[in-house]
């Protein structure tokens, strides 16, 4: 609670919140969760097939982050550090479920041909639907590559999957998404 006295939570920078949370300030951590939850839940929703499961995993990831926050060396490293926790949480949940990273071959297009504003508004839903048709491993690799902008090497580091497997999942996943999302020619 050391930093609580002079920290205006609503106006504090993320770095200040992280430093305060490292001092076990629960209110500062609460504010950090408030600011980062959209990103974290979106990341996990893209990796998981169910929104409820994604939110549960996001909650687990934040709790793990709270437990390990003292290990974070610099506040600037928080996004990458938290992303790693989220991915590890996801992978551990899959291992607990004994989920096999199965192949899914259903790649029938789900995009409509018209490109109206309504269709653009539905792009998020289409992306989620399309991601739902990928295997867990493809979804994970495509999300980290296209969604989080990680390189193949960074995905290898964060997931522990072999480089060839990561490349293959990204390539196949992207190709499936192309078939699912692009309007029929």
């Amino acid at each position: 609670m050391a930093a609580r006295g002079f920290l205006n939570l609503a106006q504090a920078t993320e770095a200040a919140l992280i430093v305060a949370a490292q001092g076990r300030d629960q209110a500062a951590f609460g504010e950090l969760v408030k600011r980062r939850q959209g990103w974290a839940r979106a990341l996990l929703r893209r990796m998981c097939s169910s929104h409820a499961e994604a939110d549960d995993l996001a909650q687990d990831a934040f709790i793990k982050a709270w437990d390990r926050l003292r290990d974070l060396e610099t506040p600037a490293a928080f996004p990458g550090w938290f992303r790693r926790i989220a991915v590890t949480t996801f992978l551990m949940a899959k291992r607990r479920q004994k989920a096999v990273f199965e192949e899914i071959d259903d790649a029938s297009p789900i995009a409509s041909e018209e490109s109206t504003p309504e269709a653009a508004a539905g792009a998020k839903i289409d992306l989620e639907k399309a991601l739902g048709r990928l295997s867990d491993a493809e979804r994970l690799c495509v999300t980290l590559n296209h969604g989080e902008g990680l390189s193949h090497a960074e995905i290898v580091e964060i997931t522990g999957l072999p480089l060839g497997t990561v490349k293959s999942h990204v390539l196949r996943g992207t190709e499936k998404l192309r078939r699912l999302l692009e309007p029929a020619q």
């Binding site: 959209g38 709270w66 437990d67």
Partner: protein, 131 residues
């Protein structure tokens, strides 16, 4: 990067989840529960350590006061007596060996067992608090 890759990256960037107050509240409650549990665990751990330390101290005190205290004094006395008797041509070695047997007898063994049990108990309590 192909046009589709760029489109995909843009779609990911645009797909943000709206803030959910319920989610933040749930995380806050979970963290608060965790902190309370951690405090209780720390108290239990401190109490376990204190109990173990007290038991060990008691055991060591018993050991020191029993084996290395009275018996040591007795041994010193016996040695002194033996030396004296050797000087006065009156050997009494069996007295010294009796003192040694007594030192390693039931009283000392009980103290050692008590100390070992205290250490084992402390270790089990520590392990339990860690779990």
């Amino acid at each position: 990067m192909t046009d589709f890759d760029a489109l995909l990256t843009r779609s990911f960037a645009e797909a943000h989840e709206p803030a959910d107050d319920g989610f933040s509240v749930n995380v806050g409650h979970a963290v608060a529960r965790r902190e309370s549990a951690a405090k209780l665990r720390n108290v239990a751990q401190a109490m376990g350590f204190a109990a173990a330390a007290a038991a060990v101290t008691y055991g060591l005190y018993g050991l020191a006061a029993g084996a290395f205290g009275q018996d040591l004094l007795a041994m010193v006395g016996i040695e002194f007596a033996r030396a004296h008797s050797a000087l006065s041509q009156a050997p009494s070695v069996e007295t010294a060996s009796r003192g040694l047997t007594h030192m390693l007898g039931a009283g000392t063994l009980t103290t050692i067992l008590l100390t070992t049990a205290a250490l084992a108990g402390g270790a089990v309590a520590y392990r339990a608090t860690q779990d």
